[in-house]
C-alpha cells in the first residue's frame, strides 16, 4: 500500500470493517487443513460435549483469565487465591503459564489459533537461539513480560507442564497446528475437542457444517480470539450463569509504545511507520474514565464480544480493570467485588 493520508484512527476503522474477511483469509485454509489432519488423533481425546453442564469448577460461576496487558498490572490471581474461590477458572493458552507459576492449575485451558508457532505457550522442546533470532514477537509483546526471557521461560513452562500438565483439561480446537497438538499429546493433557465455526453452519456449502459432518465434534462460535472462546465455553458449554473476565483488555495502555503491540511489524510492512497513527484507534472507557488505544483486530474483538454478550445466557462481569470492553451487556466492576458477591450469594 502506498502513502496514506488519513486522520488518527481512520485507516484503522477501515480495516475493522474488513476484519471478518481478512480473518478468514488469514486462518481459514490452514485451520481446515489442520482439522483434517487432526482427525487421525481425535481418539486420543473426548468431545467437549462431555463438559456440557459442567463438571468443571463448583457452582454456577466462572472466571476467564486471559493474557491482556492488565494482567501484570492487576495480578488477578492473587485476589482469586486469597478469596478461596471455588468456581471454574477458564484460562487462555497464553495465560496458562501465568497461572501455573503462581501456583494455580486452571480448571480448563482453551486454545483455538490455527497458526504455527503458538506451541510456545506450552513449551517448545526444540527452541534454540537460532529459532529465537528469527522472530522478535515474543520479546516485544505487551502481554506476559516473562516471555521476554525466551529460553528461560520456555524451560520453566516445560518443567511446570511436565509436573502438572496431565492434571489439566484442555478445550483443544480441531484446527490447532500440528506442533501444538503433538505437544499437548506429549504432555498428556486431558483433551476435549471442539470445532470453531468458520462460517454460518446453516448456509448452503458451509465449511463448518462439513467439518462437523467429518469429525462429529460440536461447533462453537469462537468470537475471533481465544479470550472470547473461553467466554463462550464458560457460558454456552459449562453453562455458568455468572462469568467474570480478567485480562480481556482488547487494547493497550496509553504509555505502551507502538513497538510493543501485537500487529506492529505487520502494520509497518503494510502502511509504513509514518501512517501508524491512522491505524491505531483511541478509545475512551467511560466506566474506567481512562483512554486506551487499540489496533484494528482488537477493536473488532471488542465489537464481536459485545454481540456475543448480548446473546449470552449469563451475566457478564468485566473485572479486567482496564481496556476497552464496555457496553450495555457488560457489568464493569472490580474483581474483588465479584469474588465477594459470589461468596455472599453462595454461587461461587
Amino acid at each position: 500500500m502506498s502513502v496514506v493520508y488519513e486522520g488518527p484512527g481512520e485507516l484503522g476503522m477501515k480495516f475493522v470493517a474488513q476484519m471478518d474477511r481478512l480473518t478468514l483469509e488469514k486462518i481459514g485454509e490452514e485451520g481446515l487443513a489442520n482439522a483434517a489432519r487432526n482427525q487421525a488423533v481425535m481418539h486420543r481425546g473426548k468431545s467437549i460435549a462431555e463438559l456440557r453442564g459442567g463438571p468443571v469448577g463448583e457452582g454456577d460461576s466462572a472466571i476467564v483469565i486471559a493474557a491482556g496487558p492488565s494482567i501484570p498490572r492487576r495480578n488477578p490471581i492473587e485476589a482469586i487465591k486469597a478469596s478461596g474461590y471455588k468456581g471454574a477458572l477458564v484460562a487462555t493458552d497464553s495465560a496458562m503459564y501465568y497461572m501455573l507459576r503462581n501456583g494455580v492449575i486452571p480448571d480448563l485451558v482453551v486454545t483455538v489459533d490455527p497458526q504455527e508457532g503458538l506451541v510456545r505457550w506450552f513449551g517448545q522442546p526444540d527452541l534454540d537461539h537460532e529459532e529465537i533470532a528469527k522472530d522478535d514477537y515474543w520479546r516485544r509483546q505487551d502481554m506476559d513480560f516473562a516471555f521476554a526471557d525466551e529460553l528461560k521461560t520456555n524451560r520453566e513452562i516445560m518443567s511446570l507442564l511436565e509436573t502438572y500438565g496431565p492434571q489439566i483439561k484442555i478445550a483443544l480446537a480441531t484446527c490447532a497446528s500440528k506442533s501444538l497438538v503433538d505437544r499437548v499429546l506429549d504432555i498428556g493433557m486431558q483433551i476435549y475437542w471442539w470445532n470453531p465455526m468458520f462460517d454460518d453452519p446453516d448456509l448452503p456449502g458451509s465449511k463448518t457444517a462439513a467439518l462437523f459432518e467429518a469429525n462429529g465434534m460440536p461447533c462453537i462460535n469462537a468470537g475471533g480470539n481465544v479470550g472470547s472462546s473461553c467466554y463462550m465455553i464458560a457460558h454456552a458449554v459449562l453453562e455458568k450463569k455468572h462469568v467474570a473476565l480478567t485480562g480481556i483488555d482488547f487494547s493497550y495502555y496509553p504509555e505502551t509504545p507502538y513497538f510493543n503491540t501485537q500487529y506492529y511489524r505487520d502494520l509497518i510492512d503494510i502502511i509504513g511507520e509514518e501512517n501508524l497513527d491512522s491505524a491505531y484507534i483511541r478509545v475512551f472507557n467511560p466506566d474506567l474514565q481512562k483512554e486506551f488505544y487499540t489496533d484494528p483486530a482488537y477493536y473488532w474483538f471488542r465489537e464481536t464480544f459485545l454481540e456475543l454478550a448480548a446473546d449470552a445466557d449469563c451475566v457478564t462481569y468485566n473485572c479486567t480493570e482496564g481496556g476497552i470492553l464496555f457496553g450495555d451487556h457488560i457489568r464493569t466492576q472490580p474483581l474483588s467485588q465479584f469474588l465477594t458477591d459470589m461468596k455472599a450469594s453462595g454461587a461461587r
Partner: protein, 57 residues
C-alpha cells in the same frame, strides 16, 4: 456474448464494454499483506453452539 447478441437497433451513444481490471502484483501484495491484520479465528454472527449435525434435506 457479442457473437450471440447482435442487437436490433442502433444506440444513440456508442457503448463501450468496461474493461475487467486484472489483479496487479501490487493488488495481490495488498490483499496478501492485509490478511496479516486479521484475528485468530472466525466470528459468526448470531451463532452460539451447534451440538448436533442436522443434514440439509
Amino acid at each position: 456474448m457479442s457473437d450471440l447478441l447482435k442487437g436490433n437497433f442502433k444506440t444513440k451513444n456508442e457503448v463501450v464494454a468496461p474493461e475487467v481490471a486484472e489483479e496487479t502484483l501490487e493488488d495481490r501484495f495488498e490483499r496478501t499483506a492485509l490478511k496479516r491484520l486479521g484475528g485468530s479465528i472466525a466470528f459468526v454472527s448470531k451463532k452460539k453452539v451447534m451440538w448436533e449435525f442436522k443434514p440439509k434435506s
